[in-house]
Amino acid sequence: MREITFAEATREAMEEEMARDPRVFLMGEDIAKQGGIFGQFKGLPERFGLERVRDTPISEPTLVGAALGAALVGTRPVLDIHFADFLLLAMDELVNQTASLRYMSGGRLRVPVVIRAPDGALRSAGAHHSKSLEALFLHLPGFKVVAPATPKDAKGLLKSAIRSEDPVLYLEHKALYTWKGPVPEGRS
């Protein structure tokens, strides 16, 4: 079986899901012009344009609020948060709004949003860029929390997350981006 890196596996998942479903779009800081800090978004703006791969200002509460609103009106946003540590800036939007609205509305509102966030320690990025927050988010009802360990997992879990009808927090460990592993070819 062919081997690709973890970052390439997430990029393939994004590309396939964006091609499959026009409601899927990507937003975040430095993703279109820069291609992501770890190169995980390379080539996506060229293929899908800047409407569907959107560079945003640096304000996490605004980003989560915007993704939530977009999901409520029928799109399927994938929001990249630069580092998982910055999720904490948007806790009201994440917990009181995004994770709660289906429950609060008795199932009338749906929030199919994926929030991707690189976590874990890598090199010497410092305490504000190194946290692993999965245990914290597991305690907040309404989120599905996933953390892929291999390139194959990364691709499959991201595709499942995008197709989920509920908010998914997709935590990707920074040290894994360059790891190579077998990933089946072909789409599903």
Partner: protein, 95 residues
């Protein structure tokens, strides 16, 4: 965007509103009343506004009645709509 507005009612039903005088609210225009006047000035017939107001009030009365006459929810429904798919196999009993 900055919207300058005024809160006519207290923070909650039953708020004694000790932080302002009883007459304070009188000094502020009510945007609903202002908009009504504006619609009339633009030529919307009084009868149209009245019928809209009546149908909205009826809708609200029906909502209150539905709430007051509905049974309390079954505790077994506590986890409904937490996720799109039902939560199963949770490790506690719901009375």
């Amino acid at each position: 965007m900055e919207a300058r507005t005024y809160r006519f009612k207290g923070h909650y039903v039953g708020d004694p509103e000790l932080y302002r005088s009883r007459d304070e609210a009188k000094g502020f225009p009510d945007p609903l009343a202002l908009y009504r006047e504006r619609l009339l000035a633009l030529g919307v017939p009084e009868a149209t506004l009245k019928s809209l107001e009546e149908s909205e009030e009826k809708l609200l009365d029906q909502a209150v009645e539905l709430a007051e006459t509905s049974p309390w929810p079954d505790p077994a429904q506590a986890l409904e709509d937490l996720f799109a798919e039902p939560v199963r196999d949770y490790p506690w009993e719901v009375a």
